[in-house]
Amino acid sequence: MFYTLELPILNIYCGLILEIPEIELGTLPPCPVASDALQGIPRQQTNPSRWQGANWDEFVTALQQDDIEVRQDQGSKGIYLTDAGGMAHGMPNGVVLARSAEQISKLLIYAQNFRVPVTTRGGGLTTEGESVAFGGILLDMTGMSQVIGIDKSELTVRTEAGIFWHRLAEVLRKDGLDYLSAPLNMTSSVGGTLGVGGIDVNSSKYGCSADQAISLQVVTPTGEIIECSDEINSELFQRVILGYGQFGIITVATLRIRSYTPMHMHYFYYRSLRTAITDLHELDKNAVCDYTGILTMMDKAITLLVGFDSKEKEKLFFKKWRRRLHGHGELIFSIRLASYYALHPWRLNELLFLYRRKKTLFPDLQPAHHMQDGAIIDRTVVFSRAVWKHWGHQHMVIPDLATSVDKFVDAVEAGNAVCKKHFRRYTLYCVGIKLRPDHKAHYELSSIPPDAEGFSYGCEFEPVLEDAHYSRDQLQSFKNAIYDVGVELGSSYYRFGGMMKGYIRRALGNKVVDKHLAMKRKADPAMILNRDVIF
């Protein structure tokens, strides 16, 4: 007997019935094992079941008759097998390259009618498989990557949403302009970033990347093409910004921009996470710097990064603020570090790692060909290259936590303990995110913690994997342990990744999730758009 399986399944063998109940997307059935199984944590299937392909041929025929090309060959599909996380592997049934809002509209109308899942993908920089298609259509948004227009007097840019931030920066730079803030990564797309948040080392000044959107053209899950902003169709705007791709596909975005400035960067070194974070909070609260962040090598070498757009601001910092910071310059810190390892000689390997890392990483953060008068002239390129060179790996493992100011130190320290337990080498990366009070509604389902006022703080926990191979489950266990810290502290997860299906109810509570699930069901009756990401 050969058989393939479709859900729901009711099979009868030898007179015994094995019933596999169908589970509605977004719901969590009671656990039949015990209420305290897995310590009472309501875990969910986070590695989705593959879509079984019902009506696929009819769906493709309909698309082709409407001049929408669907690539079904292995070569075209295979390049979308995984995302930057490199852990989830899924193959779409077909790939559509985005060409226009009208084309996407038709695609979604057919997808609703035939109930075919559609997964959107920009740069594919998700880490939990959110941009991996477990069957259905993979919609590659990079086909829409043109800058439509720049308004130099109003300082805005109108661009197709499949464009990578790096390419946008290139175009803006020709007119002496720059975007406000964006992920330090060459291949993240504008649309994808606006859907999840996006942070930069200047997010403590400008907020997350999503907050710089003025208006959007969105194709809703049922195929309507709608322009939205805080003024028109504001409810859709609120849902789509930081909405994880649940309520529509962003096809075009108008963003705030600014004049381009080189970046003057300085580093101060700490031995205590708590002290460095306290100083970071002070600098951000008083808007002392244009760029701030913390980057560590384990919890041994903690670096506070500060940057400035102007020499005047830089001078003011050194005049009024430098002496208030508890961090040291490189020389004094090196002496302190040497004293520590002199008393802990069995940790010599760790010291050698720190030395090696400093020797290779720091020159890459200030490469001569990207420096002018002591300033970095293209931070996007400099930081992106450094990120991929020194943190890049087959698996991008960057679980993160986002908290209010008050909870941040506890979250970082608890996450640091998790890192120590799982890996010998790791780094932490912390930044502040300035919140916009008028965007409170945008944040409701997002990674911005509900109790955050004024600022939210985020920390990424990044193991340095080097050549070692870790199983998918080992890395997932580490990520879960970090996310569990978030649940215990009542915090959230920033950037991309953490706010996944298995955690959203625990992080935001049933009331908020059910409210948005009801809106999702209304907006996307067949639940086809980016399913399994959070619901």
Partner: protein
């Protein structure tokens, strides 16, 4: 001749995990199982928290039919000849008491792979670019299917392993593990726990736990001994020492051969060429005989290795041996005395439970464990374990020269 991407032999949890990875990645996957599904499986069914998490995250919530009563297990209780008992709760909370017949079948179905049951593997022929697999359906014809890769997930008595390593079965000691089911008259053993005895006179592996209103009494010993006699001895011991009063065994007793040596001495058989071995067939077995969680994880890694080999155009054997290292560490660490003492490799805290005892009881327990370990003296594993433990301590890994 039919061609598929992967054939998985066996319809176990390891097979389900491998199939899940392969099907998700769009590979045509065929599972062949010699028995009719759902098939019976001899097993305690007490899954570790790690295995439980894997099941939920990959296959979804367990249907009630996949569980025995009591549906959960809180931890393990060790019993010693000195009559000291040491209960230890699992770190992750209670875990499922799986009904293997249905849980395995449920996971196989959730994987989405095509299944051909009542089909036996007759032969494998690796041609380098593909493997020709000859199978026979019960009462039907013999057919040959061409696959790019084959995964052997067919348990401790793996036919795939026998094909690749004909000498394996002669090289390792085999144990018989058997269990009988009893109606309960009176049983003071806490039914929330899995009970294990470190008692050399009871045998190499002695356990008991509640299932569906009955009590299981299980014995494990070197193959060749007498099941009936062994079982009777344990039953009387439980009555005399623990007040466990049971009716005579029901007729549905069961037993099977187990290879719980390879994990202990870091000796795994992982496959050759385009044929991989996984689960207990490859030697993965956690301490206290729980093989389900490492079957799930090693099975998943075998599937991931094939995806990795295809997408990077690398030989799958090398890829698998590189990717499986983490699971080998995880499994072998559980048997590593240094790790047990200092590294918390298990999902319950043995050192903490030991330290919670009074000093005299602690001394009794250590003495009892030592006497129990002497039972294994004849296998001459001591030096091998010591060497592997030191390798792990100083080199951070185990020698891959012992993986065939």
């Amino acid at each position: 001749m039919r061609s598929v991407d992967v054939i998985i032999v066996g319809a176990s949890l390891a097979a389900a995990a491998a199939a899940k990875r392969l099907v998700d990645a769009g590979l045509e996957t065929l599972i062949v199982e010699k028995l009719e599904l759902p098939r019976h499986k001899i097993c305690s069914g007490i899954l570790s928290p790690r295995g439980y998490r894997f099941l939920i995250e990959n296959f979804g919530p367990l249907p009630a039919q996949t569980l025995h009563e009591p549906t959960s297990c809180r931890g393990v209780t060790f019993h010693f000849p000195s009559m000291v008992s040491m209960p230890m709760d699992f770190f992750g909370g209670t875990t499922p008491h799986l009904h293997r017949k249905y849980s395995d079948h449920w996971a196989i179905q959730r994987s989405g792979a095509e299944v051909q049951d009542q089909t036996s593997l007759l032969s494998l022929e690796d041609h380098g670019s593909h493997v020709e697999v000859t199978i026979r359906k019960k009462g039907g014809e013999t057919t040959t299917v061409r696959a790019r890769y084959v995964i052997g997930a067919d348990g401790p008595s793996s036919v795939v392993r026998k094909t690749l390593y004909p000498e394996y079965n002669k090289k390792i000691p085999w144990f018989f593990v058997g269990q009988k089911f009893h109606e309960i008259i009176d049983c003071p053993l806490d039914e929330e726990y899995f009970h294990f005895w470190f008692h050399p006179k009871l045998g190499h592996y002695t356990w008991s736990h509640a299932r569906d209103g009955r009590q299981i009494v299980g014995v494990g010993y070197k193959r060749g001994d007498n099941f009936q006699r062994r079982h009777e001895y344990v039953k009387s011991y439980l009555e005399d020492k623990h007040g466990v009063k049971l009716k005579p065994a029901d007729p549905d007793h069961e037993g099977c051969a187990e290879n719980f040596g390879p994990s202990l001495i870091n000796r795994y058989v992982l496959g050759k060429g385009n044929v991989l071995l996984t689960g207990q067939g490859a030697g993965f077995l956690n301490m206290i005989g729980e093989g389900m969680s490492c079957a799930l994880h090693s099975g998943a890694i075998s599937g991931e290795s094939i995806i990795e080999a295809i997408s990077r155009n690398k030989p799958v054997e090398d890829t698998y041996k590189r990717m499986i290292v983490s699971e080998i560490h995880h499994t072998t660490d559980q048997w590593n005395p240094l790790m047990i003492a200092f590294g918390r490799p298990h999902e319950a805290d043995f050192p903490a439970a030991l330290m919670a005892l009074s000093l005299p009881d602690r001394i009794k327990v250590i003495k009892d464990i030592w006497n129990f370990l002497l039972l294994y003296k004849e296998f001459k594993w001591g030096r091998q374990i010591a060497r592997a433990s030191l390798e792990r301590l100083f080199q951070g890994t185990y020698s891959s020269q012992r993986w065939w």
